[in-house]
Symmetry: C2
Subunit: 340 residues, 2 copies
């Protein structure tokens, strides 16, 4: 049995979209071994449920947190001070109290990270959680972190991210000794900030991490390394630049197709390719990034996630909860302990 | 007459590629009003020239700097101390001494920025040069800076970049009052670093800059603002992520095409579209980014630029030199003076 706690007030599209996301997950997966604890303002949640004919109410327990929510504008420090009783706080607490196995939220990333860190707590030797994602590339897939949980990172934190990324790549991508690189503005040893220089020194002196040096932005899609380590500011900008560039290219293609009938026919013939590419790169399809370093699984869903996106984040949450990820991660991290 | 000084030792592909780049520019443009001053190790330059039958030697003056070069590994501080007599140093000095109108180099970006700042000098009220590029997007084009000249930027420097970007968009994109945004990990006022918060305060209090707030990575390709301001670290990673993503998508398309004959036929019919998209996004075609803020035009060509890339960087250099860019820029900046 996997018990999923969901922050129903998080995300740009609000309660209706989150309710539709849970319904969609259940319609697609017909789960028999999953239950949901839904945290939020019970009136709009019930209104949204009543609008949908086939909501899986039998699998769900509602927890009323009234109109107490953490807005996307809230600073993490304020969320910590005043977040008690909000849907996000209570959903996280449910997991911390072992009443659920995993928590999912599309809400404020900084607040989610700060609250999860304090309420759930960290794996020993890791000081801050990092948001991780699996990025497709020419050679296969890489693990990239941090993608937005920490805007400023010290060299030690980057080295901890390297250890966590290495453990995650070992478990998620089944790579025995994943290559780990620091994202920089050039591959030369002299390039970049003092923090990166210091992180380089820590990592090159660690025999347990397969550190391969600096990579640059073009290397992300080349698959130069199995793990890409960066601070949450650059990581977030890089990931969102990727998303934007993909949308831009699809837009360019559509514009060109509209110009010519022959091109339209050509595109009809290769529509299978276009659908396959669009699907393989659709951020909604890959929604649901775990916050690495916590004692439990906490899944950050994209702020703009629609019902399909949230359904995929729940799917990711269930996969992590079932896969024994946290004990495996803790074990691998212990073997890399000298790294951090 | 436009006089172009070229650092012949810069770039990953070396002298042969740079010689071929100048030849290519001249074959494509048949210039009658351009002369070149080439700085570098004269023996390999002459050897490369002699290999090419139709090198425009009549337009070129060679300046021997022996084997003194600045490597891509060199830190900017060392380049300043020990760079005298190198091809990059001498090419920049030629412009500073008004013996050339513009300098082009594919060499070490940090060193080029540091040397140009000291040797050529800055427009008043601007403390550091920024590397700028014109980025295509769904709505048209935007000006983005800094793309790698400054890894760490203060709030004041970001505000100066905003003023320079605004001036550049006015001149290059012909926009009367360009909208200016700061690149961040979210659009909410509370998001990001303390430096961004401070830069926001400076810009929102300036009536001369059309400041529209924070944007995120996905907004770059949406064309949410005419000017995108960021530090050189994130800017460089974002730009190179874009390049990598484009290459990855073309790779995916090729892979899918190879799988099916019908798809091959379809792609043959829409090859015009594919070529048009590939060309419009080819980084070589857009090579040659000016360092904004200097008293003269200095053009940074991509380190990996081939002959075609260098020819395009020279083309950009000539356009800037002919367009009265520096006086226009100085004038617009003076009108925004209260900003910086």
């Amino acid at each position: 049995m996997v018990r999923v706690a969901v922050d129903m007030m998080g995300g740009d599209l609000g309660v209706d979209s989150n309710v539709a996301g849970i319904r969609r997950f259940c319609l697609d997966n017909r789960p028999t071994d999953i239950s949901f604890d839904l945290f939020g303002n019970i009136a709009p949640i019930e209104a949204a449920i009543s609008k949908l004919g086939d909501f899986p109410s039998d699998l769900c327990t509602l927890h009323d947190t009234g109109d107490r929510t953490i807005s996307s504008e809230e600073r993490p420090s304020i969320a910590i001070k005043k977040g008690g009783g909000t849907s996000m706080f209570e959903a996280i607490s449910h997991v911390a109290l072992d009443r659920a196995d995993v928590v999912v939220s599309s809400g404020n990333t900084g607040a989610f990270m700060a609250l999860a860190k304090i309420i759930i707590g960290m794996i020993s030797d890791i000081s801050r959680p990092a948001l991780v994602s699996i990025i497709p590339n020419i050679r296969g897939r890489s693990v990239m972190l941090d993608l937005g949980a920490n805007t400023d990172c010290s060299a030690t934190q980057l080295a901890q991210f390297a250890a966590m990324g290495s453990a995650a790549a070992k478990i998620l991508l089944d790579i025995e000794s994943p290559s780990v690189a620091l994202l920089n503005i050039g591959t030369e040893r002299s390039k970049g900030t003092d923090t990166l220089d210091e992180a380089y020194k820590i990592l090159e002196n660690n025999g347990n991490i397969n550190f391969v040096g600096f990579i640059e932005g073009t290397d992300i899609s080349k698959g130069t390394s199995d793990v890409i380590v960066t601070d949450g500011f650059s990581g977030n900008i890089s990931l969102k630049t990727m998303e934007g560039t993909i949308r831009y290219l699809l837009h360019l293609a559509k514009e060109e197709i509209d110009k010519s009938l022959i091109c339209k026919l050509g595109c009809f013939l290769c529509r299978g390719m276009m659908i396959s590419i669009r699907n393989s790169l659709d951020p909604s399809r890959h929604n649901g990034a775990p916050l690495l370093g916590l004692r439990k699984v906490a899944i950050k869903s994209h702020g703009g996630a629609d019902a399909f996106g949230l359904a995929n984040a729940i799917s990711a949450a269930v996969t992590f909860a079932k896969s024994n990820f946290i004990p495996s991660m803790t074990e691998v991290l212990a073997s890399l302990k000298t790294a951090v």
